[in-house]
Symmetry: C2
Subunit: 489 residues, 2 copies
Amino acid sequence: MSKGLPKRSENYSEWYNEIVKRADLAENSAVRGCMVIKPYGFAIWEKMQRALDDMFKATGHQNAYFPLFVPRSFLEKEEEHAEGFAKECAVVTHYRLKADGEGGLMVDPNAKLEEELIIRPTSETVIWNAYKNWIQSWRDLPILVNQWANVVRWEMRTRIFLRTAEFLWQEGHTAHATEKEAIAETEQMLDIYADFAENWMALPVIKGMKTPNERFAGAVETYCIEGLMQDGKALQCGTSHFLGQNFAKSFDVKFVNKENQLEYAWATSWGVSTRLMGALIMAHSDDNGLVLPPKLAPIQVVIVPIYKSPEDLAAISEKVEPIVKELKAAGISVKFDDSDNQRSGWKFAEYELRGVPIRLGLGMRDLENGTIEVARRDTLTKESMPIDGVAESVKILLDKIQASVYQRALEFRDTNTFPVDDWDEFCDRVEKGGFVLAHWDGTSETEEQIKEKTKATIRCIPLNAPVEDGKCILTGNASDKRVLFAKAY
Amino acid sequence: MSKGLPKRSENYSEWYNEIVKRADLAENSAVRGCMVIKPYGFAIWEKMQRALDDMFKATGHQNAYFPLFVPRSFLEKEEEHAEGFAKECAVVTHYRLKADGEGGLMVDPNAKLEEELIIRPTSETVIWNAYKNWIQSWRDLPILVNQWANVVRWEMRTRIFLRTAEFLWQEGHTAHATEKEAIAETEQMLDIYADFAENWMALPVIKGMKTPNERFAGAVETYCIEGLMQDGKALQCGTSHFLGQNFAKSFDVKFVNKENQLEYAWATSWGVSTRLMGALIMAHSDDNGLVLPPKLAPIQVVIVPIYKSPEDLAAISEKVEPIVKELKAAGISVKFDDSDNQRSGWKFAEYELRGVPIRLGLGMRDLENGTIEVARRDTLTKESMPIDGVAESVKILLDKIQASVYQRALEFRDTNTFPVDDWDEFCDRVEKGGFVLAHWDGTSETEEQIKEKTKATIRCIPLNAPVEDGKCILTGNASDKRVLFAKAY
C-alpha cells in the first residue's frame, strides 16, 4: 500500500496530500473548498477535542452554542472586524427553492430575506450581542464560555485541513470585569494551547504575539503558538486574542462595577481548528506514512497474527486474548486484526501508513519460543520480546514513543532555528526554510517590505525573547529584540 | 426565583417557555428562529450526546464529518427528498460582501455563485455523493457512519428546542450489501433510541412505523419513537429510516456483490436532535421548575450550607468536604454552594428550578445532631438522615430517583392512553389530549380527513400492536390493528 508514497524530500506537498488520502483521513468534497473528514481522521480529531475540552473545563469554562447565522448588520458594527471578514463570507439571501418548471429547482425570488445572513466566519458579533443581555453587574462576570462549531471563510486557495472554506474549531469567548483579568485569561488560554501542542500533539511551539499587521480583526493583541513543519515552513497552531472593550462598545455591553459605576466589559476570544490535523501530519510523518503520537492515536496498538492454517490462527488468538484484555483494562486502544482477506505483509504496511504507534507480530515460531515481535512506528525498529509481560512493556513503550516523537520534533525545530544578522543570509535562510530570529525595527512598512522581498512573515514576537541591542535586518534601525520570521502556511 | 412560574394547568405553553428561560437552558437569538443554547442547557445536551455516542460506538459506528453545504443539483437528484426539503431551506447565493459606500456592507453582485448552495437540512445527498467513491465491493460494506452536526430548516413557526430554524443533531448514514441487513440496522437504531429515551431520559416511548404520509422524504419506511408530554400532546423523539436503494440509485452507488454482480447499495439514516431537550423538559418538570433524571443532570447533588457566621460556615465546610470527595470518587457530580451572596432559601428555590435531583442541607443544629437534610427534587420530599454514610445513601437514592421519574412518566402515559372505538368519543378524547389507539382503514385519504377534522395525526403504527378485527374509526372500513393517534408537537 505505501509503495509509491511520494518522498518528502522530492515533493512535500504531494507527499502531504497522499498521506491524507491513503491514511484515510479526509478528502475533498464536491463542494469547492469543503472537506469530508473520514472516520479515521475524525477519530484523531475527537481525541484532540476530548483533551482540549477537558482542559477548558478544568479551568472553569463551560460549553454553549450560538447561531450559525450572523446578520449583516452585526458584522457592520465593529469596523475592523467587518473589514477582516466581509470579503470572504458565504451569504444567505433566500430561504426557499421552488420547481423551475424543467424538473429542477431554482431560488424562489419571493423568498428573499430582508437582511442577508452570513455563515459565521467566527462568532464574536453573535455572542456579544447575546452577552448584552447576560451582563448587568460585576456579579455576572466572568463569563467563561466555549463553543465547538463549524465556521466558513470563503478562501480562494484551499488546502485540505490547512485552509478550507468550512472547518471545525472551538472558539472561546469570555467577558471580564477588568482589563487585567481579561489579559490573564488570554495568556492562560495560550498556555493551554501550548501545553496541548507539546504534551498531546508532541509538537514544540513558540509562544508569542502577532504584530499589528497580523492581528485578528478587532483584537487589541493577538497571541499565538507557532510550530515548524518538516519542510521548514511555519504553521500557526492556535491564537488567543485580547479584545479589550472593542466588542463591548460595538454591542453596548456595560455592567455596574464594584464601585457602582457603569463600565464596558473586557473580552477575550481564542480558538484552534481542524488545521491542527494538518500540523500533526506535517510535523511527524515520514516517507512510510503517518506517524501519530500515542496519545492521539485512535488505535495505539495493533496485533497482527502471522499464520498459514486456521489452526495456527486459533493457537495465536488464544495467546493474544489475555494481552488484549490487559491492554484494554489499562485504557489502551488495541486492535487484533485477525481478518483473513489480506496477508500479514499487507497489514504491516497498512498500519504503518496509518501511523499506529506499536505493532505486535505473532507467528508460530514465536509461540514455540514464547516471544512476540514489537515494532515501533516512530523509529521503524523491531524487537523480539518475551510474550509474558508484553502488555506491561507496551504500556511503558507508549509513553516512551510519545516522548520520543516530541524529542525528535524539538531537535528538528532547534536545528532549524537560526539567529541571523545579515540581509543576504536572511534571504537565503528564509528561502531554505526554518525559523529565522532577526531584528526588526518595529514598523509595519518594514514588515511589509520584508514580506514582499522574501515571502517571509513575522510569525510572532516571542514572549521569551531576550532584550538585546540590535539592528533591523532590513533597515538597520535600532531594535531591542529578535522576532520570529518564516515562510508560513 | 420560582415565584410566579406559570402553572402547567393554567398555561402549559407559557410554563414551558418560562422554564427554558428561568432554568437558564436556552434563549431565542436575534436571528429569527435560531436559538442560543446556554451553558446549563448545553451541559444536559452534552450528557445526552455522550450517552448516545457511546451507544453508537458500542454497535460499531464511527463518527465522520461532511460539508455544511448541499449543492442545489444534489437536492434535485432524489425527487421526493427535494420536494420535502426545498421549500424551507437557507440558500447561499454569494460569497462576498463589500462596502456599500454609506459605512455599511452590501452583497457584492460580482460574487455570485454559479450554483447555489443549500445549508444542509439533512445530509443524505452530500453523504451518498461521497459514498459513491467509498463503495466498490461488498468488502467495503457495511459503512456505519454517524455525524454530529448543525442543520437548518427554515420553519415558519418556531418554538425553542422543539422546532427551530437551526438545530443540533446526530445523523447516522449507513450503507449495506443487503436489504435484510439494512432493515436490521434501521431496527437496531430504533431500539437504541428507545433504550436511550427510557433509560437515560426516563421517558417511556412507543416504537412504531410512520404512515406513508408521514414518512421521511426519500425513505421506504420510517420508524419512530413517540413520547407523551404532560399536556397530552405527542412528541416524536427520534426517527430511523430504511431508505432502500433510493439514494444509491440517485447517486449511482453500485458495488460488486459476493456473486460478482453489480448491485445498488442499501441505505439507512437515523437521527435525534436538540428537540429531545424539549421532550425532557415537558415530560418531567413541574410547577416548581425543571425535573431532571439523575443520569442527565449536570449537577446531580447540591449541598447548601445554612449558617449565620463565617465560623459556622467553616464548621459546616469541614463536615462537607469528605462527603464531596466520596461522591466525586463515585463519579457523581456534586456542587457545594458556599457562595455568600444569596440566602439558603433563595438557593433552595434556585436549584429546584434547575432540577438538581438531590439537595443536601446542612445547618448548625444538624452538626450538633450528626444529621443532614436530604431533599428529593422529583417528589419534593425531605428527610433527615445521619450524616455518617450519607454519600452511600445518596448514591442509592440517585438510582431510585432515576427509576421513579421513569415510573411516574410511565404511569402518566398509561393512564392517558385510550383505546377508542366511537367517532364522537375519538374527537372528544383527542381534544382532551393523550394517546388514542383506534382502528384505521389504512388509506391516506382517511388519515387526512381525520387530521382535518380533529388535528390528530397518526403518530405511528405501533410495532407491538396486536392483530384484532376492527372497524376504521372514521369510515367503518375493515382494519386489523389499532394505530396511535394524538395531537402532536
